[in-house]
Symmetry: C2
Subunit: 364 residues, 2 copies
DNA sequence: TTGAAAGCGCTACCAT
DNA sequence: ATGGTAGCGCTTTCAA
């Protein structure tokens, strides 16, 4: 009878138990077509018996790949990032890749943490508000496939994002159409590319109204509430917030100030959190999971591309005669045969609820 | 001038560039005290120049550890898991460990996925509603440190969870105190240990009232709304829901049915989502991040313990004379010197808002 | 179809 | 203080 599994069985033990060489074990456990069915079964039985699981580090070292990729985000507070990460994980898993996560907020040295992560994966997805473009560029120049998610493009790197300006513009126009003439945008365009895009859109859609920018720093509820306290003294018609959490904070502040929404004040957010629905908040819906899934799929493509390129380069090195290369034939194998950086903007959609003015029918 | 980084620099190249042996490079880049300051600087300069980052697989293979741990959860939908994972990641990072995630929902073979994950980490945290106890036991028997999070204990494995029954009881008593006499519990106790605990508590706290159990399957908003549609025909006084999302669904259904909350119907949830606040939902708050952080810290302890034990065992094998062991001295080095399984239940707290009946003061 | 053996890149022990 | 070198466990030619 088999002993309880101890320590960790290696391929050598399996080989011994099955009476074959480790090479055969390796093949039997994967290639399969290069081994007799009988042998394979014997090996599999032995592996089973010893509860054998190949060592990941050993495999990775030999194969030269990790079979894992990573995603970097600021934090997981609020449903936005969580949904994105979830979509990412699901897509990556479907492609046979494990997922490493890294939250940069509250980290002493985010850049170092990301570099360390880069050494553990075959590819990396980096979201906005985490690390600088220089760090991203540095990592990408290593040949490590990188996909940018919800942040401004970096030369030569794929980027996936959700639409900001056009939808923001539509939102602002809607507000103006409601008769709002004094609009305040609450959020810091310099703090995040997304916010910048939203602000730009709101500006474009606010023709005919007076638009004020209030650079509220945080993107959480408390920041919104705090900013609103002073902001509301100016009696704006409408406050367009950088995201839902901030908008919910404004709602709270308005309530505390005795202001009615939307009669005295219109408020809008961005993200369509579950809470927005119950707060009757007009907002914008983003395809969060799809953002994550797209990033994961693109990354996978890039990883495959670069693997192919590398393999080809290796062959060339080993087989080719040692002639001097032509000067324009620089060794940038990971760049060759690489299509131009991909860009995609996923569509977003305004969700009208009560907070932006009276409507016949509002979204439930 | 340094060339753009290509492929991947190895320790050999750094050694060559610095004019030392790879052993010295290895030391200079970590041990530091065993090398001259001058040498160290030279090596670091070379490493810098080549953009050298040690290969993780090679390191792991040589060291026999991954410097990473994993967490398994059903999904990231709703703030609950996201918060837990965030707390986990933060604590793990502080302990110098990378984090691998695995969402089991929508996975064809969760057990296999978890086993594969187990091969990539030094320890594993497993949450409820993911894989069976047998799989957990199987992995734990490997000697891999495991911590259970928000699920029923398994023999010999550490468990961290949030209080369910006591708080649920207090909640039920509060409802009864309000005069509610016909209470319905909406949720499936067999579907999750947490729900089971909550139901048990509600039962204990419903003395003097008539309690009905409706086994609503899902834990999402739509499931709650759907279940409520038929459930409300029985005109219950109060509906205690397994979690907030279900409760919010009930709120929606009640509204559609023209019922006023709390006048016609009291509703309570569990989790204190952001949305609960805006829906005025009475609920229970759990220390979600703390749950995750605790799991990460415990796991770290276990990993250190088992590393120590293994090291000791190795020494014994290499140095000790080949005498026969005493029969009671079985080779279970990963179990020896291991304290009994830890258990902890983190406190939860009832958050009273409007949905459970009129109050003078409600939680904002 | 199978086995022997050369790495993969790094750590750590043993010399010097 | 530094170098030489034996592994760590697996994959993958190259031979047989």
């Amino acid at each position: 009878m088999a002993m309880k599994a101890l320590s960790k069985a290696t391929i050598y033990q399996v080989a011994q138990l099955a009476g074959v060489s480790i090479a055969t074990v390796s093949r039997a456990l994967r290639d399969s077509d290069l081994v007799t069915r009988e042998t394979r079964e014997r090996v599999q039985a032995a592996a089973q018996e010893l509860q054998f699981t190949p060592s990941r580090p050993a495999r990775s070292l030999a194969e030269g790949r990790h079979a894992a990729n990573g995603i970097v985000f600021p934090d997981l507070v609020g449903p936005y990032y969580a949904e994105v990460v979830l979509g990412y994980e699901a897509a990556a898993a479907a492609l046979g890749s494990s997922v490493l996560i890294l939250a940069t907020n509250g980290r002493r040295d985010p850049a170092a943490a990301v570099r360390e992560l880069a050494g553990r994966v075959d590819g990396l997805t980096v979201m906005g508000r985490t690390i600088g473009d220089d760090v991203v560029a540095g990592i990408a120049s290593t040949g490590l496939p990188v996909v940018l998610l919800a942040r401004d493009p970096v030369e030569g790197v794929d980027t996936v994002r959700a639409g900001n300006s056009n939808t923001a513009r539509a939102l602002a126009e809607h507000l103006v159409g409601h008769g709002h003439r004094t609009i305040t945008f609450l959020g810091d365009p310099d703090g995040s590319p997304d916010v910048a895009g939203r602000y730009a859109g709101v500006r474009a859609g606010s023709k005919g109204a007076h638009l004020t920018l209030v650079r509220g720093k945080g993107l959480d509820l408390e920041s919104g509430r705090r900013a609103a306290k002073s902001l509301l003294k100016d009696k704006p018609d409408a406050v367009v917030c950088a995201n839902d959490e901030v908008a919910l904070g404004v709602l709270l502040a308005a309530q505390e100030a005795g202001l009615r929404v939307p009669e005295d004040l219109a408020v809008t957010g961005w993200d369509d959190l579950l809470a927005a629905r119950f707060a009757g908040l007009t907002t914008v819906r983003q395809p969060m999971r799809e953002l994550g899934a797209t990033a994961a799929r693109w990354l996978n493509k890039r990883i495959n591309e670069s693997a192919t390129a590398t393999r080809r380069a290796d062959k060339r090195i080993n087989e080719g005669p040692p002639v001097a290369r032509r000067p324009d034939e620089r060794d940038e194998s990971h760049e060759e045969n690489r299509t131009a950086a991909r860009r995609r903007i996923l569509a977003t959609e305004v969700v009208i609820r009560g907070s932006c003015g009276a409507h016949e029918e509002v979204h439930p």
